[in-house]
């Protein structure tokens, strides 16, 4: 953590030739530390690289964090933005009673720390869920850079706007969707992120606990666990602890609510029998992939 204040490369001239060796995907190495060029940064953030950004003398320092370490804490003075180069994190708000509210799970290519700009203090804290390699983007340096690289400034607006849209989608999800739909969409978006990063979109490990997922989705950890089990039972996914296999993305993507399980069917039938006697179907458990069951899964 102490190393965070040391990054002070300013505009010190460095011989480009001496540093011309790209270090795989891990950025440049200098003084035992990793550095990234502006171009690499843009690529990471998925924003267009322009011809004016070919200045390889301009470098951004990386910092490593180990699992469980805090990147910044609530109330800490804001001065730098972070871009995830590798690893997984969570950002959380702590309410007045000490309860955590998970806001996001930043991973490769994500920017965080933006919420500190306004109050000049971070209102949230960021914690590494795995070992992480982060690129430091000192805010002042960044603003200054915007003057030399005009497109960069626009890119920043774009990235912040993207974050805003993401939060809006989150609000919409929390406001309108059932527990099952939330978990389903969460899995789909994770799957897509893993695909983006070059991992398998079909089989991956969750980096966060059920509790953290629940907090993120506005659910309890039990509901998350139960929902995953239910998805597993009807063959949408496979679950084994943190390991998730996606079997039917399309179903997950469009799922609104789950059909009643067999045990709850019995209860429901019992209740409804009073009003509407219906053909008594003996409790044969629905086949996992039964098409008759599928339609009920999907949204109207």
């Amino acid at each position: 953590m102490g190393s965070m204040q040391t990054q002070d490369l300013r505009s010190e001239p460095v011989s480009p030739a001496a540093l011309r060796l790209p270090h795989l995907e891990a950025g440049w190495q200098r003084q035992g530390k990793l550095w990234s060029t502006l171009k690499e940064l843009c690529a990471l953030l998925r924003i267009p690289v322009t011809s004016t950004m070919t200045d390889d003398d301009l470098l951004f320092q990386h910092v490593q964090f180990k699992t469980g370490q805090r990147i910044h804490t609530i109330g800490q003075p804001f001065d730098t933005l972070y871009i995830v180069h590798s690893g997984f994190l969570k950002t959380v708000l702590i309410d007045e009673y000490g309860n955590e509210q998970v806001l996001s799970f930043p991973m490769k290519g994500d920017l965080f720390g933006v919420d500190g700009i306004h109050t000049r203090r971070y209102p949230s804290e960021a914690v590494a869920l795995s070992n992480c390699d982060l690129v430091l983007l000192p805010f002042k340096k960044f603003v200054a850079l915007g003057r030399s690289y005009l497109e960069l400034e626009h890119a920043m607006y774009s990235v912040m706007s993207r974050e805003l849209v993401r939060e809006q989608a989150m609000v919409s999800m929390l406001g309108a969707l059932s527990a099952e739909a939330r978990v389903a969409r969460f899995l789909v978006s994770l799957s897509e992120r893993f695909a983006d990063m070059g991992y398998s979109s079909k089989l991956f490990n969750l980096r966060m606990t059920r509790h953290e997922i629940g907090s993120y989705l506005g659910l309890t950890l039990e509901t998350v666990s139960r929902t995953l089990s239910a998805f597993n039972e009807i063959g949408l996914i496979t679950v084994d602890q943190r390991s998730i296999g996606i079997c039917d993305v399309e179903a997950l993507r469009t799922l609104r609510r789950l059909p009643p399980s067999t045990t709850r069917n019995r209860q429901a039938a019992g209740r409804k029998a009073r009003q509407l006697p219906q053909p008594l179907v003996d409790a044969a458990p629905a086949a996992p992939g039964d098409p008759a069951t599928w339609d009920q899964l999907m949204s109207a």
Copy 2:
């Protein structure tokens, strides 16, 4: 609406002089409040005004909208940001089944349209809930201005960051708070906004329907209505249709959940009687300000 496309400053050479008010065949009215200076804009947005911004030739056009009119629609190409000079609006997302999700209720001093920057199309739509007077801020013109007025650019980051923090608070609220707490906080924040704007914080009219409030808070309109009635019954507020009187802000601010109402007490007593017979208290309605009732209202 057609006037929105008229000022086109592109990203050409950026001398402040080039940005001064465009031609204007017909005499423009500064008295009719159809135009605002940069200083006025900063004041509106609650951001610091610097000495360099004293150029009164630089003007921003206003546009009026009547109740019910749409300012921008979903999918419409993005090109301008809006600042509310007066009036009330809502911004909504429409999901794949046509359901509205209210995202915000912009009012005086609020900026909206920011979510369109990233995709270059508005992902949401904005609707006037009352007659409105908006300041147009063509995005390209604004970006160009950032070069001449350095503080303006920083202010923009700050405002966007503020929006992000607001959304985070929203997510946190939706994820963690009870219906009653949501409604209570909504009323408090409205009250504070009205105070900011110079109106009474104790007595005001809601500009939105119960349905819109419910959508914003992730609740049904019935729950909103019931909750307001409950607050009214215990003397926290007065309600008469759209007119709201705030009686106890502090109680609203810290409220977590409501004590069971007298009618529900009877039901609950009936249920619990089986397990735990308790002193039968005849249904005398609780006095509106009964201190014994207060403590239960507050958070642990």
